[in-house]
Symmetry: C2
Subunit: 614 residues, 2 copies
């Protein structure tokens, strides 16, 4: 029966230089849908949770979902699943663009990379022709030049490239994997794992079609979803108009935009780097991922007079060309959090992050931590090589190079803010959870997101339970951000539902408009499955618990489900949210109870049984 | 005030090639006495429990106790504390001989090795002269030749040498550190950590004295202990006469000597490899460690006609010379457990283990596992390179070489039986706990030792709670080995008391005669402390919980406190213990309760508070 799975995976052993195709395990596909859930099941079955993330025993899995590459709206996602070198937890980083769909078109749901190559290589995929090739000529080059060279070498301008930059090669702990130059599987250092395997890039070209199980019903289902997406205010208006950067002013006005490494929760000059300002002064065009009707992606351009400032030698890029971003999270981490309001320095640093292959959230947050260490005298100018006062836009751009290349002080930044703050004897300046840096929402001002951060299976991160949708935007319904009641249930529901979305191949942004009642039918009519919404939620719960059990057995215990002291005890000093702290202790016990976990976050035998995870 | 601590440690950074002396942290010394407890506190404070055991971030600590190097009877021990590459748990391996005392005479309680050298080195210590030296000329050589060369190079025949052999260099996961050629810090692969740091050996010569705080009282205390040791049957007669091998017949007659990879619990030909037979036919002399009045060590010699059989080229050793051992555990693992009764093959394999620097328990047990895999067809002759049937004495000797050098099939054996059994798809043939192989007492036949194995902080092992003393020998009082009642309390008490002994620098064998009421006064009069017996037990409990918390945070959770199915469900088929299984489920919950841990082995907040481990 035709459906939207290819039912095949590529197994690439980089130690032995071999490529095999295998049938996907059908039982697991049914239990986990695809994407994040399925790849995590493979990783857990094939590796030891205690393995060194940068050792050859770790595996790196690229995976799509049954809706990736179909015409389901936002069905463009691929995910990278591995053990994170930043956090030691399970990692699943998610990216859009066109790479994931192309992989499906070539005939593969998944690629499992195992072992490690002795010398730099890349993987070339042209439908059934899959070859490991020498990458000596591109090792050391930026992501953009790598893509240009590979497209030219492979002779197909329609090829899609996912690559690491120097940051991944140098195993920067928050390096990412970038496709189409400006889309990234961004968090938790998946790029460093790719670098540790000496795998520079994957080039893929596919010319096969993707079937769906019930075409007639499928088109009905997707048309219904598209209509809802078009009419919903966030997906139909705000995101198309301003991209994710629309949130800068929203969060700042509410008093939930952390600045100066979380010493404050508003930023006086937010207007200078807001989505509205970018749209008015730097925006060239919107850019959509494959099959997406939202098109939140930005294309921006620097003004002529800004293009040389702070920029030192890098790849062959012409800085007068337009480029992608910046996204809300990146703006926040590299501007307000560092006390910086120079929009062009921000855009340059963001592009450089993409070119070097580095997560701008963790980079910006680590720099902010360094700035606080600097202002407290724990780091001096000699150690840092320059002044690192908050607000220093030159440092923002300069340190991107040094971090990506691990040169000078950048070698310390490359380890992330958890290790940096410990190295300089102020662990209290680390603002994150499980060694990963917070994203752009102050958990003192927004209670639920604090619980979501604290319990997140991949460390501090907003993309596993975006409670901001409810607490700030009122989707699907408004809850009070200052209130703790009900946030445990909200967080659990969002975590479980997100597991379904991440396994389907859809983008989480579709959930600003549609929910599982729309998503599950699309999965069914494409994949030939017959999940109910309840079935799907159970799958989401299974994924969450599976990831959580992996973390426990990797030694990431319940004690790490917490927030920094500054968040739990340091009241917000000024502004509309003045006096607030995160009341995690009011939410966490209830959350554990709802999950069927004990006080130490250990799932009960009954829960493990119920989810088939025994 | 003079006391038996030197109060100094050596910090050797092998990455940077630097040596520093530091004061010992006095607060920690008081909280943990010294030895195992103190070094573990340092390791936990300075390293991440999730670090790669063979990576440069792991540290390797050599440590003595306040009674090491004094004239307290059995006060000869040093310990090696690190994270184990075999188990992923905390490791503390303990050795006697003269090395530990010599280190104290040179003026150091402890050495912390950090980082890793690029090229082979050894550490030379002559009192205050401490130098990292090139080891290119001895890298690759066996332990014995290494010791001979280093003594000649350093020009002092009184120097003491602790070294790794090829097994440690090749990171065999159960490689050990050997001093005076035949004494070893044996279990959990501490030799591989030393190898990963490219540290071949430590040569130490010390000419300083060791004071005691209250000489008059100290000599009274030790004389009293010596008298008890002399008069107790085990330490005054059995061990001096037959060494630890006295247990072969004892355990076999009881029906608790596992054979054929635990398929049986007796061995028909035990008499051929018993302590009595060795004493009658192979023993040359007894050998005592520094200050020991027991002298359980054996010196044996092969008969002339046996000396060439199975032996292939190795170091320059003359096989007609006498050598150390074999000890009970080693006899058991390499003979009954493999179905072998060739005493000379056993002695050769044992010497080769010492020369290659490899734990004979884990080696023998891994070979036994391979033999069961072989007899079940999971490994064929082509894979193994030879016939691996149970009873093959040639395989026993041949595979020692191959394992130590990781050549051929030995490369699989070098990973231990947990990984071996998984590799060949029969994980049920692994006989151990937490990836470490069982020692020589059948936990089906002796209930308490099963609980001790299951809950041991360094995986299956008898030296953290030797309940055999009570269950078989009746020390301090006889308990029924078939009974589960009371074994939780017995195990906890032995675990806590052993922590004190291991931290003092005494040998656990002294406890066959004396107990904390004799030991604590010796510590006090030597170290100038004023611990009560209750204080000491609290310290033991603190050590146990500290190690346990380290393991939890390394991902070694309560679920691993278990025994193989063969032990829990596979009844003993024949002999006096026929029909028995280990009833762990009757003991474990009570044990957790006594420890103040929950059902998942997580210590309560109150217990953590009480022990000052928060």
């Amino acid at each position: 029966m035709s459906n939207s799975y290819t039912d095949k995976l590529l197994r690439v052993n980089l130690s032995e230089g071999t490529v095999k195709t295998e049938k996907i395990n059908r039982d697991w596909q049914k239990e986990f849908i695809g994407g994040r859930g399925l790849a995590t099941k493979y990783l857990i079955s094939e590796t030891d949770s205690k393995t060194d993330p940068l050792g050859k025993e770790n595996k790196l899995i690229f995976v799509t979902g049954p809706l990736t590459g179909t015409s389901a709206p936002t069905g463009a996602r691929y995910m990278v699943v591995t053990k994170s070198p930043l956090t030691g937890t399970i990692a699943c980083s998610n990216s859009g663009g066109y790479f994931g769909s192309e992989l499906k078109f070539a005939g593969y749901d998944m690629i499992i990379f195992e072992g490690a190559s002795d010398k730099p290589v890349y993987l070339s995929i042209y439908n059934d022709d899959v070859v490991i090739k020498d990458a000596a000529a591109i090792w050391g080059k930026g992501v953009w030049e790598t893509e240009d060279i590979l497209k030219s070498v492979e002779g197909d301008s329609d090829s899609r490239v996912a690559a690491i930059g120097p940051a991944g090669e140098n195993k920067v702990l928050f390096s990412c994997i970038v496709n189409e130059k400006h889309r990234a599987a961004g968090r938790s250092g998946v790029g460093a794992v790719m670098g540790s395997k000496k795998l520079k890039a994957i080039v893929v070209r596919g010319t096969k079609g993707i079937g769906v199980s019930n075409p007639e019903r499928f088109f009905e289902d997707i048309n219904k979803s598209k209509e809802i997406l078009r009419e919903a205010p966030v997906t139909g208006q705000a995101l198309p108009a301003y991209g994710t950067a629309v949130l800068v002013n929203v969060m700042n006005e509410y008093g939930g935009l952390p600045s100066y490494n979380f010493r404050s929760s508003q930023f006086a000059n937010a207007e200078k780097i807001s989505g509205e300002t970018i749209a008015d002064t730097r925006l060239v065009a919107n850019k959509a991922c494959f099959a997406c009707t939202i098109a939140c992606g930005r294309v921006t351009k620097l003004p002529d007079n800004a293009s040389e400032k702070y920029i030192v030698s890098t790849s062959s890029r012409n800085w007068k060309d337009a480029g992608g971003g910046p996204e809300y999270e990146n703006i926040w981490a590299m501007a307000p959090l560092c006390g910086i309001d120079d929009i062009d320095a921000l855009i340059k640093a963001n592009w450089l992050c993409n070119d070097l292959g580095m997560d701008p959230i963790s980079y910006g947050a680590t720099l902010a931590c360094a700035m606080e260490l600097y202002e407290n005298g724990a780091i001096d100018e000699k150690t840092a090589g320059m002044n690192l006062n908050f607000g220093n836009a030159e440092a923002l751009v300069k340190m991107v190079y040094d971090t990506g290349h691990r040169s000078g002080f950048g070698d310390y930044l490359a380890e992330g803010s958890y290790r940096l703050s410990k190295r300089f004897s102020h662990p209290e300046f680390f603002m994150g959870v499980k060694k990963q840096e917070f994203p752009a929402y102050d958990p003192r001002a927004v209670q639920g997101i604090g619980l979501a951060y604290a319990t997140n299976n991949r460390g501090a991160d907003h993309l596993r339970a975006y409670t901001i949708a409810s607490e700030i935007m009122g989707i699907p319904e408004k809850t009070d951000p200052a209130e703790t009641e009900g946030k445990a249930a909200l967080t659990k529901l969002f975590q479980d539902a997100t597991g379904v979305v991440d396994s389907s191949g859809l983008c989480i942004f579709c959930t600003f408009a549609i929910g599982l009642p729309e998503i599950v039918p699309m999965i069914n009519s494409a994949a030939g499955s017959d999940y109910s919404v309840d079935d799907a939620l159970k799958i989401g719960e299974r994924i969450w618990n599976m990831e959580h059990l992996y973390n426990l057995s990797a030694g990431i215990l319940g004690a790490e489900d917490t927030l920094p002291k500054r968040i739990l005890e340091g009241k917000i000093a000024e502004g509309p949210t003045k006096g607030m702290v995160n009341k995690l202790d009011k939410m966490l016990p209830e959350y554990y109870q709802l999950r069927g976990w004990d006080d130490n976050a250990v799932p009960s035998k009954e829960k493990i049984e119920e989810l088939g995870l025994g």
